[in-house]
Subunit: 98 residues, 2 copies
DNA sequence: CTAATATGCAACCAGGAGGTTGCCCATGAA
DNA sequence: TTCATGGGCAACCTCCTGGTTGCATATTAG
């Protein structure tokens, strides 16, 4: 999922979807300088990572943000940072004890 | 920086460095099934992303975690999630108003 | 001093990722 | 019905990334 967010194009797609709601592939392509197919591939990657969700509607395919997974990522970053904090605390207490 | 965390090997390197303190390249290589050179390259990528820091010590080069940047990433994820929450709130209030 | 250890540098290689093009299908509008 | 539009599929291309190997350099141990 970090890999999914690691691409510049995909990150801006996520940003757009976060801010806006649901967009079709053609709409999302409009404004970028890449092909519709490329956008489709990026959306697929984001979907595999659980970051976006698609809903068919007529001949259109609308994409929207899926917030749950991002929250999970945030929590995992917090846990990593927490590990570091605990390590520092251990180090500090070890030094004080000596 | 998401790209830096997007690689499996690098993510586990970060995890090790978070939990532990400072390690040499040889130590970090021990336990993985890749070459020392590959580990060096990964550490370089992480350093470019500001996630780790190196300190020379004798003939060794010790690497340790750099927590500040990760915190920044956490905040940016929070802001993205926040955008989504605000969009939902706007949508809700729009619906209620109609 | 000499040998072993820890690392750096550069060339090289294979595979995957991002991107494009061409063609086809489905659906909505006129 | 006919046509334009939104989208899917697949082949193809290029370049970057992850990884390796070989050799050179610095530092420490004996």
């Amino acid at each position: 999922m970090f890999a999914a967010l690691g691409d510049e194009t995909r990150l801006s797609l996520v940003a757009v979807l976060c801010a806006g709601g649901a967009f079709s592939i053609a709409q999302l392509t409009h404004g970028t300088d890449i092909t519709r197919q490329a956008v489709t591939k990026h959306l697929q990657v984001l979907a595999d990572a659980g970051l976006v969700r698609d809903l068919k509607q007529g001949r259109e395919r609308l994409w929207e943000f899926e917030p749950s997974r991002l929250d999970e990522a945030r929590r995992s970053l917090e846990s990593i940072a927490g590990q570091w904090d605990r390590a520092l605390a251990r180090l500090k207490s070890t030094l004080e004890r000596s």
